[in-house]
Structure formats: structure tokens, C-alpha cells
Amino acid sequence: MTLWRSIIVVTSGLLLGSGAVAGVLPEDRTDVLYHLYDGGGVAIDGPSLLVRKQIGKSMSVVGNYYVDMISSASIDVITTASPYDEERTQWSLGMDYLRGNTTMSVNYVSSVESDFDAKTYSFAVSQDMFGDLTTLTLSYALGDDLVGRSDDPTFERENDRQQYGVGITQILTRNLITTLNFTTITDEGFLNNPYRTVRYADSGVGRGFSYEAELYPNTRTSTAVGLRAKYYLPYRAALEGEYRYFTDTWDIESNTASIAYTHPMGPFTFTAKYRWHDQTGAHFYSDLFPRQQATNFRGRDKEISPLTSQTFKFLASWEFLDDPEGWGFIKRGSVNFSYSLLSVDYHDFSDVSVGALVGEEPLYQLDSDIIQIYFSFWY
């Protein structure tokens, strides 16, 4: 997925690169993670390694190496192509520089696949103000992608992307912290997937429909605003709520909300989370176009169709080491296990793999298991 992969690279860069708390450099730490996604005929797993280390008193550097090993026989693949295996490798380097109450961060991310190459450069500046109750962060990222096709070495398209972000973190009371984030992203270039197709009604074939290449607009601008609040409960537990509103020039509009509860018990910490997401479809999306080349732009990617997703997440952490003497230079260590069930109901995406009459196919539904196991070390 061209567009989605681009977004992922930008987001990863900003997340890993802007982890600094203004006025304080991020903690020195190393995380070793194994991730597994399994659902809808797609299995993706691989490692991720993150290392962060302070250099001197005012600088911290961070590096991340991440791999996706993909084995795909998704609904899109089995209906129009053959199952495939793919590998994506991503690495990033970042630096945070602290001066007074200001933290400046730069980050570079590179993601490479056999048919896709993405580079992202990002910059963020955070300022603590008003007695350190408020942190203002501005961020900017520039993405530069090269899209190819595995079956056509001459195919090469570009995609440029710019992301602007403004965030405010505000301490409201001694128990309550909130964040407000605005993000605007503009894309320009080849935004659709070079492999994917749309289907259109075709009475000339037995099954009643045929496929043609999808064609997305060359530009997209999206805006998102997210509000988060975390509250410390009197008996040492935390309650967190989050809401996001999203809209873009493709007429996708979404609402996302989540609630999480964290409860420590000695060296163990447990978190339960529920997330709900609902979106409308893009204006050029159709499950079945009435004829070939029916519209200027056309897409049948289920990700831009109207859908509702729900996630149930459970996380358990065990802090097995918390000792100033520690293990040599390692002072703290934890092992963490996270399981999420992601369930997606598509409101206008038919499951054509069942072979029903055209227009009478059942709607597609997806359940995925998401597992993360990671060790964290602080030093």
C-alpha cells in the first residue's frame, strides 16, 4: 500500500524523533521488540530494536531498526493476484538537543522494500513555558517516496509529502495532564497502489464484473485534531481517554475514541484499553462501479471505504529489575506482553471470494490478532 506505507514512515519518524520532554532529555533506554500481526490472510512479524543514549548534558541520540516480514494472501490479493512474501526494513536516526527549556529534535527515517523506497526528514522544537505547566511543540516532516512495481522494472513514480504538527501538553491539576495535537499533511504524487484494481459491472462475463486499474487523485490534504487526557486515581492507578477528529480532501471523515485503565501491583503493571474508530469513505470509492472508467478517479481499497473498527487491548508488564546497583550499567529492566484484538466491519466492501451473485455478496469483516513482546532496559 503505497500511501499507507508513506504515512507510516512519517509517523514513525515523528514518534521516535520527538519523544523528548521539553526541558528534560528522554531517558537512556533500549527496547527489543517482537511484533506479530495475523488476520485477514495477512501475517506480518519481525523485530524492532531501539537504542537511546545521552551524550554530554544536552544531547541525546536515538536509533531504531525495524523489520516487517510479510506473508500476504489478503482478500485483495486472493481475488485479483497471487499470494506473496515481502520484507520491509526501516531504520531511523534521531537527535535531541536541549537548551534551557527548549528541546530541538531532528530525525531521519529510511524504509526499503523491493518495490518501494521512502525517506523522511523531520524537525521538531518543544518549549516549556508557564512554570513548566505547558509544553508547546511544533514539528515538520518532509517525505520523499519512490514507488515501483515488482513485475515492471521500468515503472517508477514519486510521491512528496509534508507534515505540519502543533501540540500542546498542559498540566491542569496535580492529577491531570492533557495534550492537544493538530496535524496537517499534504501529499502530492502517485498516491494509489500500483497493483490494486477496482471492479465494475460487466454483463459480458459470467461472474458479472471485471477489474481495471484504480486511479487516485494526485493530491491529498488532511487535518486531524486529537485530544488526550490522563488522570491519576487516588489509589495509584491511571485512567486515560483520547478522542481524534479527522477530515481530508478525499471526503474521508472519521471519529476515533479510546479509553484505557492502568493498574500497578507490586512489580507488575496491567493495562486494559478499548478503542473505537468510525470513518466515511472517499468520494471516489465504490465497491462496484457501474461501468468501465465510470469516473475520473476510482478506488476500491478497503482502507478508504466506510468502516468501523474496534480494538480490545491487554498489556502486562513485569519490572524484574529496579536497583541502582543493577546489572552493571543497567539499572532497570522490564518485560512486557501485549495482546490486541482488532475487529473491522466494512460497510461497503463486499467479500467477492465467496462467489455469490454480483451485488449480493456479503460484506467483508476482519479480525486480527496483534501481539507484542518486548524487553526494556534503562541505564
Partner: protein, 78 residues
């Protein structure tokens, strides 16, 4: 257009940073009252490597993007 948008961000940042520097602001939550906010269970992002991954999953399967994540956390706890 993009340069103008960036300029606006920088101007906003400069104005707010300047206002913060010139004011005699009295924080209503004192530094010594921030022990609960400094508790690890109150961290806005306990594991960047994990939150980055799960956001990756959502953005690959949904049409929305951005507006999430923590913009630092000005707890000034240390």
C-alpha cells in the same frame, strides 16, 4: 503557500515563547506537587517502540492519520 504556512507556525511559536519568557507566571501546580504526574503509570508514552508499531498498524488499515501521540510532557518533575 507551504512557506507561508511554516512562517505562521514559527510566528505563533515565537509569540508564545516570548510571552512565557516575559511573564511572571505563578504555576498553580507547584513543582513539589507533581509527584503523581511523575509516576511511571502517568507517562504519556511508556514505550515509544511499541506505540510507534501500533500506530503503524492502524494507519495501514484505516483512512485517518495524525492527531495522535504525545507532544512532550511538561511535568518538570526532576
Amino acid at each position: 503557500m507551504k512557506i507561508r504556512a511554516l512562517s505562521r507556525y514559527l510566528l505563533l511559536f515565537g509569540l508564545l515563547a516570548g510571552a512565557a519568557g516575559c511573564s511572571n507566571f505563578e504555576p498553580w501546580v507547584k513543582p513539589y506537587e507533581r509527584d503523581r504526574l511523575a509516576d511511571p503509570i502517568m507517562a504519556l508514552d511508556t514505550a515509544p517502540v511499541s506505540s510507534s508499531y501500533i500506530q503503524h498498524v492502524y494507519e495501514a488499515r484505516e483512512g485517518a492519520r495524525g492527531g495522535e501521540g504525545a507532544a512532550g510532557g511538561g511535568c518538570g518533575c526532576n
